[in-house]
């Protein structure tokens, strides 16, 4: 079987995925601020209003609670709305509608009302953004039963996963690593959704033996680079792209850790109560007797996202990840000898 792939950016891949979803199902509707005429501040919805009309690609008033809240109402009528939250830091006004409504209505209605809602959230930093424009709020949603959350790390996944998210009958937070929007890759536009890996499945990005390095979204490319750099030093890292943030694919990660005995987790979000905490705790529960070292977290610090000229001191990068790898391998590094 030959498949012709198309070279396109991450952002274009999402656009193509949204287009497919709009074509496939008349109940799919996009709603958000500036997504229509402008095509979104990141142009992710570029051209879609022109082609599908203002009733399928809806420029909404400036109110996030209402964007999500009206989408919840549309779900009651069998729609599959896709909300765009313009930037990560603007999702909090919609928190109640997400946590008390979208997340709970299927449970509340004993399965009678479906909530096939997708909430697209460009997230993360590393591009010199202003306050509220670089946040990583995924852990809040990980802790919210009833929601699912995913984050693609490459154009192909972006194309497929956005369609899977829309096809999912549960509310899905779709976290787009905005600083990777311009990364290019091959996308199989004919990809068969049914044959694609399920939305909740992590992927082994690169096999390895010495330690398992888990990342998602924007840090997957960084983790891959770290693995390459480590390989130069003779260290073989297994890189896992989580893809699904809720539920976490413990099966894939645990199988890897049982082989490597060591786990490093990296994310941009602040450490305390972040996704890394759950992954570390869950893997420790499942793999305690396999672990040679405590799982190591390489994450943003417990600070508000800092101004652009400080962000390199907050964000995990290649060197900090490698430092974490040293730590998990018990190689001497900056924290060697520290008691806690």
């Amino acid at each position: 079987m030959t498949t012709a792939t198309t070279h396109m950016t991450f952002g274009q891949a999402i656009n193509a995925g949204l287009r497919r979803a709009l074509e496939r199902d008349p109940k799919v509707l996009l709603i958000g601020e500036d997504i229509g005429t402008l095509g979104g501040v990141f142009r992710i919805t570029d051209g879609l209003q022109k082609d599908f009309g203002a009733h399928r690609v809806v420029d909404s008033p400036l109110a996030e609670s209402a964007i999500v809240g009206t989408a919840v109402g549309m779900c009651f009528r069998g729609f599959r709305p896709v909300c765009e939250i313009q930037f990560d830091g603007f999702i909090y006004p919609a928190f109640d509608q997400l946590v008390s409504q979208a997340a709970k209505l299927h449970f509340r209605s004993r399965g009678r009302v479906r909530m096939p809602l997708t909430v697209r959230v460009p997230f993360g930093g590393g591009f010199g953004g202003a306050e509220h424009h670089s946040e990583s709020p995924e852990a809040y949603f990980l802790h919210t039963p009833g929601l699912r959350a995913v984050s693609p790390s490459n154009p192909q996944d972006a194309f497929v996963m956005v369609q899977q998210a829309i096809a999912c009958d549960d509310p899905v937070l779709f976290f787009e690593p905005k600083r990777r929007y311009h990364v290019k890759g091959e996308v199989d536009l004919e990809a068969d959704l049914a044959a694609a890996p399920p939305l909740e499945q992590a992927r082994i990005e690169r096999p390895g033996r010495d330690a398992t390095l888990v990342a998602y979204g924007p840090l997957v490319p960084t983790a891959r680079e770290a693995a390459e750099a480590a390989a130069d030093e003779g260290i073989s890292l297994e890189v896992i792209d989580l893809r699904s943030l809720s539920p976490l694919d413990f099966g894939t990660v645990a199988a890897s850790v049982r082989r490597t005995g060591r786990l490093v987790i990296t994310h941009e979000a602040s450490q305390t109560g972040g996704l890394g905490a759950e992954l570390a705790a869950g893997i420790t529960e499942r793999c305690f007797y396999y672990l040679e070292h405590a799982p190591v977290r390489v994450t943003g610090f417990d600070i508000p996202y800092p101004p652009a000229r400080m962000e390199q001191h907050h964000l995990p990068d290649l060197d900090r990840i490698l430092d974490g790898v040293d730590r998990v391998l018990g190689r001497p590094n900056s924290l060697s000898g520290l008691e806690d």
């Binding site: 069998g78 109640d96 694919d249």
Partner: protein, 374 residues
């Protein structure tokens, strides 16, 4: 239009005008505009409205009794709001969709809710009751104001589909302070959504009088958003019926969203857990008793010769049957099983949750084995 009888309950200055078709004494007031919306309300229908109101009042009292007897964990009485709920509820078409609040027992009754549906939640048996798609009515909402956005979104979707259906959302005076309620008006106006906002201004949000929420009558707010608004006597079932019908007609015809403020009164406590003597003047309640919505219609029926003994017997019997039905349905609700907590969190499989369910079922089994062993 006539003036309400009294003061600070109006949500603003006293004596703000509202639509009244039946005076507190039960005298029918002619209204050139709204009377046409009652053309079909003959004696039978009037009696039907009365029977509805008496029945839901009886259901409400029975539920309160069930709570006192420990059969329900909580109950939010709608005593005093029968005209607002029956008047508006009977104006709805079956295909209209309703997004209610927790106190809308009377509306649920009009939508055909079964007895068990009315108490299941309050007994603590289920997180919601009726099938939303059988009643065309969403589960009742507890987060104040949240449902107004759902209604607006539902109406937008209906409009985008080209359907000629109306969506109605019910909420209280307190809800008008919430951001969500105001955002709902913004979206409804912007998309000219076919939604009717029905506010039961029952003068109180738990212990807070409506003046804490609003310095002007609530009905004054929507026009600034570009939404057509009416203020009606919420204890007058005919005014509520006519105004709702008229508004729904506009809504269905594509004229954009409408708003109704029904000026009524919560004659009971906020819920059975509440003690209104801590915060409200008993004279206020006495004053509102003179405007009781049920008595008012009764007086009118009487004056029309429609209040004979046979009818009264029939009403009493219907109310008795409802009370008995409610009690029976309540006490015979099956206890939920232990593993039901894991159901319906997601629409499909979820590995983490299934693991928890598996662990808990092993735990339960082990526990029962141990208990059994003793």
């Amino acid at each position: 239009m006539s003036k309400p009888g009294t003061g600070p309950e109006s949500g603003g200055k006293s004596g703000e005008p509202f639509i009244q078709l039946l005076t507190p004494a039960g005298v029918r007031v002619a209204d050139p505009h709204f009377d046409q919306w009652l053309a079909d309300i003959d004696g039978d229908r009037l009696q039907g409205l009365y029977q509805d109101m008496v029945t839901v009042r009886r259901i409400d009292l029975e539920a309160t009794a069930l709570q006192r007897q420990g059969e329900l964990a909580l109950w939010p009485p709608m005593l005093g709001q029968e005209a607002a709920q029956i008047g508006s509820g009977r104006a709805l078409a079956p295909e209209d969709f309703v997004f209610p609040s927790y106190r809308d027992t009377g509306v649920a009754w009009c939508r055909g809710a079964e007895y068990a549906d009315l108490v299941k939640v309050w007994r603590g048996n289920a997180p919601s009751s009726w099938d939303p798609y059988r009643l065309n009515m969403a589960p009742m909402q507890i987060i104040i104001g949240a449902q107004t956005l759902h209604a607006t979104g539902y109406a937008m979707a209906a409009k985008f589909e080209g359907a000629e259906t109306a969506t109605v959302t019910y909420f209280g005076d307190g809800a008008t302070s919430q951001g969500d309620m105001n955002e709902a008006m913004v979206f409804a106006a912007s998309f000219q959504a076919p939604v009717l906002f029905f506010c039961q201004n029952n003068q109180w949000a738990i212990s807070e009088p409506v003046r804490v929420q609003a310095q002007r009558p609530i009905a004054d707010r929507p026009p600034g958003f570009g939404i057509r608004s009416l203020r009606v006597d919420g204890n007058d079932v005919l005014a509520c019926l006519a105004a709702t019908r008229e508004s729904l007609e506009r809504v269905r015809s594509g004229a954009g969203p409408c708003f109704i403020e029904a000026v009524t009164y919560r004659m009971g406590p906020h819920t059975t857990a509440d003690d209104p003597t801590r915060y409200r003047d008993p004279n206020e309640l006495e004053d509102w008793r003179t405007r009781d919505p049920v008595d008012r219609l009764g007086a009118y029926l009487q004056s029309e010769g429609l209040f004979g003994e046979e009818f009264r017997d029939q009403v009493r019997a219907a109310a008795d049957a409802a009370a008995a039905g409610l009690r029976e349905a309540c006490t015979s609700l099956p206890e939920p099983g232990g593993l039901e907590v894991f159901d319906h969190v997601y629409s499909g499989p979820h590995a983490v949750l299934e693991r928890q369910k598996d662990h808990y079922s092993r735990y339960l089994a082990g526990f029962e084995a141990a208990e059994g062993g003793r």
